[in-house]
Symmetry: C2
Subunit: 330 residues, 2 copies
């Protein structure tokens, strides 16, 4: 910057004004500085800038996902990127893998880089350790699940409602023995969805049969194995609700392996690519990850603009998409 000032024959402050697009510089001076910038291939140092500037802003946010390569998470990612891009902000992305320690490490690294805000898909556990950070003024929004033991903004899907609708849908097709596959209870979404299952049964006046419920499942293989167990039981379910997309795919594999994909009903939480091209096509409760991301980014930007109102919880609707697998009669 000093070089630019020297070449343009102006003072340091003037270059700073030009670089930051501030008023109070004559057009000729701007042009001179601009050409010096171009000639020297000068690149503004945002880090140094934020160090000195009053608001301390780095125009940078941190995004913590369960896994950047998970399709649901990466759709969230894209929506958030697009939303903050307009403000010239860049996003640090990281994967926590549902690991609380990894989450803390990443947040610590992000803090050290002085990100303006944080969008977090929280791992299970206690997030009260973020209270000082929150109070300090770092904008923070949780997505997909609320933070544990921390009063902070959250944007989530209507998990219970979605699964409730799925159960009701299957009941309407004559099913009474409906199995359920769920992820680790510690994850808020998993326990809310299980609640929805129980509510759905209750509304239909069906007693809960614990033997039809498999929780703590993680990934396709475990979904497949759990489905196999359900199907092998004395009184197997006539339909299954799966609480997560990889579990759904596992369930499909198990059904296929037994030639039961057209006999046993199936509704999965989360839409996925090609669900409509499988046979039968898969009925799902579709979340809208892009919408979740947009709303989260919107809230974050509000906070960054100084909004200090009480924390908000936004619940996005989900949609049951009938495609075939959920319309198999009992």
């Amino acid at each position: 910057m000093l070089d630019v000032a020297a070449l343009a024959g102006v003072g340091l402050a003037t270059v700073s004004r030009v670089v930051n697009g501030k008023a109070g510089v004559s057009a000729v001076t701007v042009a001179r500085v601009q050409s010096a910038i171009d000639r020297l291939d000068y690149r503004h140092n945002v880090n140094a800038s934020s160090l000195r500037r009053l608001d301390r802003k780095t125009a940078t946010i941190g995004l913590l996902l369960e896994d950047v390569s998970n399709p649901f998470m990466s759709s969230l990612h894209r929506a958030i990127e697009d939303a903050v891009r307009e403000r010239g902000m860049l996003v640090f992305a990281g994967s926590c893998d549902e690991n609380a320690e990894r989450e803390r490490e990443l947040i610590s690294a992000l803090r050290a880089r002085r990100v303006d805000g944080l969008v977090v898909v929280p791992a299970a556990g206690d997030h009260s350790y973020l209270l000082p950070e929150l109070r300090h003024g770092t904008a923070m929004v949780f997505v997909d699940r609320p933070a544990g033991f921390l009063d902070a903004d959250a944007v989530v899907s209507d998990n219970a409602g979605g699964v409730r609708a799925a159960v009701t849908h299957l009941v309407a097709h004559g099913h009474r023995r409906i199995g359920y596959l769920g992820a680790v209870r510690g994850i808020a979404t998993a326990s809310e969805r299980l609640d929805g299952y129980q509510q759905g049964l209750a509304r239909a006046g069906i007693a809960l049969d614990e033997r039809l419920v498999r929780m703590e499942l993680n990934g396709m293989a475990e979904g497949e194995a759990a489905t196999a167990v359900l199907l092998a039981a004395g009184e197997p379910p006539t339909a299954i609700v799966s609480g997560q997309n990889f579990l759904t795919i596992g369930a499909i594999k198990a059904l296929r392996a037994r030639g039961l994909q057209r006999q046993v009903g199936l509704v999965g939480f989360d839409d996925f690519l090609l669900a409509d091209l499988l046979e039968p096509a898969v009925t799902v409760i579709a979340q809208d990850p892009a919408e979740l991301g947009r709303r989260a980014a919107e809230l974050l930007l509000l906070r960054l603009d100084g909004d200090r109102s009480p924390s908000r919880r936004i619940e996005c609707p989900v949609e049951l998409v009938p495609r075939g697998s959920g319309e198999i009669a009992a």
Copy 2:
């Protein structure tokens, strides 16, 4: 940091030494400083640190993808994240959407944050504008495609070889009229794959029929439409090779719509989730995005460690995965 020094009753430099884990501080002093850090909830400022430090390193890299939410790209992302995580580095991720201008904007923003290195899936076009940056010492590796008009490290798949193998495979199943669906020629992978198609035909002694080739396709819908055109022609192809995963899915839809999915052979470039559960299951030429990412990160870290040797080009093998759609006889 000044506060920490005051509370611990030591000098600034000593706190810096402790924070950076440098030798030459007595165990007691370290403990005292550490406890002051904890008490004050002090967080090191990496930006300020890099400003003053000799090597200027920010422990940060930039990753430019076509789209962070594209499954192939996000797998790359994850592999790179994992590789640099061990060094305590964070990654800025961004989507260029095959848009050269967007790429420049992002790179400019990353430069302004003084990233140590760049991993880029380049949009079509001229990348010589990065030469000053490269010379200046920013580590830079291109993945999936080489940079245009810039001599820089690149990690790519064997695109031509993969499509050649696909054609040979179809020929072995009796096909002579093989259609091809490809993306925009400006993208290196698209033109290399088209080359592979022509090579495969040439090796089989089959004359190229331009009417069987559809290029400049973008996305599922265009893939479907192009397939429809091929199938509606006077002498339709008995098999199709698709040069990209979304085009493949489009082709499947078109075949299904005409009930031809068991008559017309299909091999797609890029594996995708559920390709094995479709009927018929889809034969693909599988790339290994995680391996591409690992190799790219490896190269980048070498450069970051000061390697100034001539630029390297690493080509990763691809694998033809026969699943059914590619084994339909002519």
